[in-house]
């Protein structure tokens, strides 16, 4: 039987034959003796197919077991699928086998009793391939769906949603009634609807299911609907629409030359379908001419003259006329050919009723998805706005209240972030380290701000341009210093675990907890700022100094002290912002410069000298940036460019910002 192979290779085959012979014997005796259990009988009836283990023929065997209604059916299928079902060579009976001392211990499927231990030479393992296991899996699902263990039922549902199959529809429906867990019941109902959409034989039921699910945002609904409206592109000879084969569910008729079907593409379709000769491209002309160069000439044209497309084409046409090369196809010829065909997109599903319903459902979902995306975008924008607000609030104090431009503001943000990093090196607990880092970052940058005000800025009051340049000097020195200390690579500042993850409202809308935290941090600092300015002595003195330094001084307020503290406060808030920003962005020596221009823009757009203006500015810039990114998602660099251009134009119309001080108080 296998003359060319080694004997060893043939052994399984021999065993199969032996088993088959044994089987014949037993089946003859089975009806008489009826000693086998019920499930064993079913297995024996189909033992040929089981032993053959072929995907194409195994179906009835699996069905027989699954539909037997016997309590052991599930266990058999499970063992089979897990490759734990063995056949005893001696009598062809099937058992569950487990490895044991000296071979395998066999268990009877019907009684659950251990039959004994056999050596592996007396047994054969049934090895279902993956295709068969998938079929068994499908059959198993109906048992799993009714399994007393809720986790099993959950697994079964997950498996259905991953591999939807028409065959699962019936078992799924059958299992709904017995379901006691409300959560699982809801899932089952949902899966049932999805399977109905795809596979129910009754079109009306499918349409109804689509209508039921048309408000659902989940990806799986769209995944169920999309294949229904998938189209394939086709072409038929003849210009009239009637040429489309009857029974085709046409999605649309296409005109060559339109956006949906460029002429080149249409013609290529014809070429691919052997309905038209291939077009002769410029490259092909060149190749053909090259192949026909003889003694410096192509035909009767000198090679030197072939330096233009027109000349080459003419030479090619001459060659074509002589029959040397395929004929040239002109644009007119292409158009003429195209005119003789009808191009159309056809749905795979032949029933317009189904495809129309699917399209309706998808459109309804799309609208809802769009609305939800807008909500998601709003959340994104809100979180970006709070980041800008956090970064800008310190600047709003120093620039807005004191009229001092601090180019080193970004470096204070960086300093705060590095403080957070250093604290995390000392305190490994992330929650505790953040709690320590925030006040520490405030203290460090507060001190740095006070030092800078005392040493540099107070000598330059009323000279904002010089302040700008001097603080820029400090900024490059600080940046380089950070580089010298911490190196150029990014340092991590890790958020505590409870800030990981995101709050998910549905498949479209979600927002990460860090961003929520930053939003509240921004609100907190707004409140702190308002409290200090409106309710404390420092705030009162600050406002007094801002409005009239000389008068304030004559009333016993020390403007130097007030300026120092205000500047320290602004710098301190920058430091805290640095910790917050460091949590989601990398901490580098250059992180400050990423925010400085946006921060200035926020303050300027909002209106100097007013915290609500800064809030409005941050909101506007945040929403604007997200809006532009949404309009042009592939290109965030371009989004920033357009945003800055927009701001420059905006300042044309509101030179003093969104919330402007009016009249004399604004000065000139």
């Amino acid at each position: 039987m296998c003359p060319l192979r080694s004997i060893a290779d043939c052994i399984p085959m021999i065993r199969v034959i032996a088993a088959t012979l044994a089987l014949l014997l037993t089946s003859l005796s089975a009806s008489a003796q009826d000693t086998n259990g019920a499930i064993q009988q079913v297995l024996q009836e189909h033992s040929v197919a089981i032993l053959k283990s072929s995907r194409t023929t195994i179906g009835p065997a699996i069905d027989a077991v699954a539909d037997s209604g016997l309590p052991q059916a599930q266990a058999v299928l499970q063992a089979w699928s897990d490759r734990n079902m063995w056949v005893r060579a001696a009598d062809g009976l099937f058992f569950r086998a487990t490895e044991a001392e000296g071979g395998y211990s066999l268990t009877d499927f019907d009684t659950g009793e251990t039959v004994g231990v056999f050596g592996s030479d007396a047994l054969d393992q049934i090895k279902p391939n993956s295709g068969i296991r998938a079929l068994i899996g499908t059959a198993l699902v109906q048992f799993q769906l009714k399994d007393p263990n809720p986790r099993r039922r959950q697994d079964a549902l997950t498996s259905i949603s991953r591999n939807p199959d028409p065959a699962l529809l019936k078992p799924l429906r059958n299992s709904i009634e017995m379901e006691t867990d409300p959560n699982l019941k809801a899932q089952k109902l949902r899966q049932e609807r999805l399977l109905t959409i795809g596979y129910d034989e009754d079109p009306d039921a499918r349409v109804q299911a689509m209508a039921d699910m048309s408000g659902d945002l989940s990806v799986d609904v769209r995944a169920a609907l999309n294949p229904l409206v998938a189209t394939r592109r086709a072409v038929v000879k003849g210009a009239a629409q009637g040429e489309v084969p009857a029974g085709t569910n046409v999605a649309r008729i296409l005109t060559p030359g339109s956006d949906a079907l460029p002429k080149v593409e249409a013609y290529d379709m014809l070429v691919a379908a052997d309905l038209a000769p291939p077009r002769v491209t410029d490259a092909a002309i060149r190749t053909a001419l090259e192949a026909n160069i003889a003694e410096g000439r192509v035909g009767d044209v000198a090679v030197q003259q072939l330096g233009t497309d027109a000349a080459r084409r003419a030479a090619y046409i001459a060659l074509a006329d002589a029959g040397t090369v395929p004929p040239f196809i002109s644009e007119e010829a292409v158009q003429e050919t195209l005119d003789g065909f009808t191009f159309y997109d056809a749905y795979a599903d032949p029933s317009p009723q189904i495809t129309d319903a699917a399209n309706d459902a998808l459109n309804a979902i799309r609208l809802k998805v769009g609305l939800n995306q807008a909500a998601d975008l709003t959340l994104d924008a809100l979180s970006l706005a709070s980041i800008y607000f956090l970064a800008a609030i310190g600047l709003a104090i120093t620039f807005g209240v004191m009229g001092v431009i601090n180019m080193a503001h970004g470096e204070f943000i960086m300093m705060g972030a590095y403080t957070g990093y250093v604290v995390q090196q000392i305190i490994p607990n992330h929650t505790l380290s953040i709690i320590v880092a925030i006040p520490l970052a405030f203290a460090v940058t507060f001190a740095a701000g006070v030092a800078m005000e005392r040493l540099v800025i107070r000598w330059l009051y009323n000279r904002p341009l010089e302040t700008l340049l001097a603080t820029f000097g400090i900024s490059i020195a600080l940046q380089q210093l950070a580089k010298n200390i911490f190196g150029t690579q990014a340092r991590p500042l890790t958020a505590p675990a409870w800030l990981d993850g995101a709050m998910t409202l549905n498949d479209v809308v979600s927002i990460s907890y860090i961003r929520i935290a930053i939003f509240f941090l921004a609100l907190f600092f707004l409140a702190v700022f308002l409290f200090i300015m409106k309710r404390t002595r420092l705030g009162l003195e600050t406002r007094a100094v801002t409005q009239n330094p000389r008068m304030a001084a004559s009333m016993g307020i020390n403007p130097g002290r007030v300026n120092m503290l205000t500047f320290g406060l602004g710098s301190g808030i920058a430091g805290v912002a640095g910790v917050a920003i460091g949590l989601f962005a990398k901490v580098t020596s250059e992180m400050g410069s990423d925010y400085i221009v946006q921060s200035f823009m926020t303050v300027v757009v909002g209106g100097v000298g007013n915290i609500w203006g800064t809030l409005a500015g941050a909101a506007m810039i945040g929403f604007l940036q997200k809006g532009i990114e949404w309009g042009n998602p592939s290109n965030t660099l371009a989004a920033q460019t357009y945003m800055i251009i927009f701001i420059i134009i905006f300042i044309q119309f509101r030179p003093r910002g969104i919330i402007a001080l009016k009249g004399r108080a604004a000065g000139d």
Binding site: K662, G663, R664, A665
Partner: protein, 246 residues
């Protein structure tokens, strides 16, 4: 005499505060006028409106024989039309010499392109020298104006105004911080100027106003309280109330 400047029904408010309230004012060619009033009467704002620095909420400001509205013109255009203004604090270009200050003010094309190729002719230099003599700075022509004394700066600013050859001069407290001799000289310069053009002097100092010997307009809370000779207005009961009653 024809009307040079007519301000009628002008109001302006800053954040709810009415700085100018339905103010009307007119002045003729070659007339001297003193505007007095307590602090906050709107004197400076009135000048701001005429020179185009502040745009009024309502009202008309008409200029010249053709009654052109000044409200739609920029500051530079108004100045070119012939309105010169002297500020309360002397504002001259401290970093530049007296000569440069006066040359800049000389009535010549103001566009950037002609100015770029402008080089002073002998005639211009002579004119500047005469002007400098008039304001008592003939010797200081090449000195930086930042080095001048306070009074000299005041005169230089008046000289700058005269060099502009304006038809209307708005002068804000010219005598502030001057010695009596300097005041006298300032009076002479202004009176001389008023022979050929309209001059509006805003002043606190009654003595100084008396010496100008001209019609007086009293402003109070953004509108005209009284108008007439100094004796006439000082005997007006309203004026006395405003100046003394508070």
């Amino acid at each position: 005499m024809s009307t040079l400047l007519e301000v009628s029904g002008v109001s302006v408010s800053f954040d709810g505060f009415r700085a100018i309230n339905n103010l009307s004012f007119r002045i003729a060619d070659a007339e001297m006028r003193a505007v007095i009033g307590p602090n906050g009467a709107g004197k400076t704002t009135f000048m701001d409106i005429v020179t185009g620095k502040t745009k009024p909420d309502e009202g008309r400001v008409l200029w010249g024989e053709k009654s052109v509205s000044l409200l739609k013109m920029s500051e530079a255009k108004i100045a070119q039309a012939g309105v010169g203004r002297k500020f309360q604090k002397p504002t001259v270009f401290e970093d530049q010499s007296v000569q440069e200050n006066l040359l800049m003010a000389l009535k010549k094309p103001r566009g950037w392109f002609p100015v770029l190729s402008y080089r002073p002719s002998d005639e211009d230099l002579a004119k500047v020298a005469t002007l400098a003599d008039d304001i008592g700075l003939g010797d200081a022509l090449l000195r930086k104006s930042g080095e001048l004394s306070h009074g000299q700066k005041q005169w230089l600013e008046i000289g700058i105004l005269l060099a502009q050859e304006p038809r209307l001069l708005l002068v804000d407290e010219p005598a502030a911080g001057m010695t009596p001799e300097e005041r006298e000289k300032t009076t002479d310069i202004l009176v001389e100027a008023a022979k050929t053009r309209a001059v509006v002097v805003v002043e606190h100092d009654m003595e100084f106003v008396r010496r100008l010997n001209c019609k007086v307009t009293v402003l109070h809370e953004g509108s005209v309280l009284a108008e007439g000779s100094l004796d006439h207005v000082t005997s007006n009961q309203d004026v006395i109330d405003v100046y003394l009653g508070r």
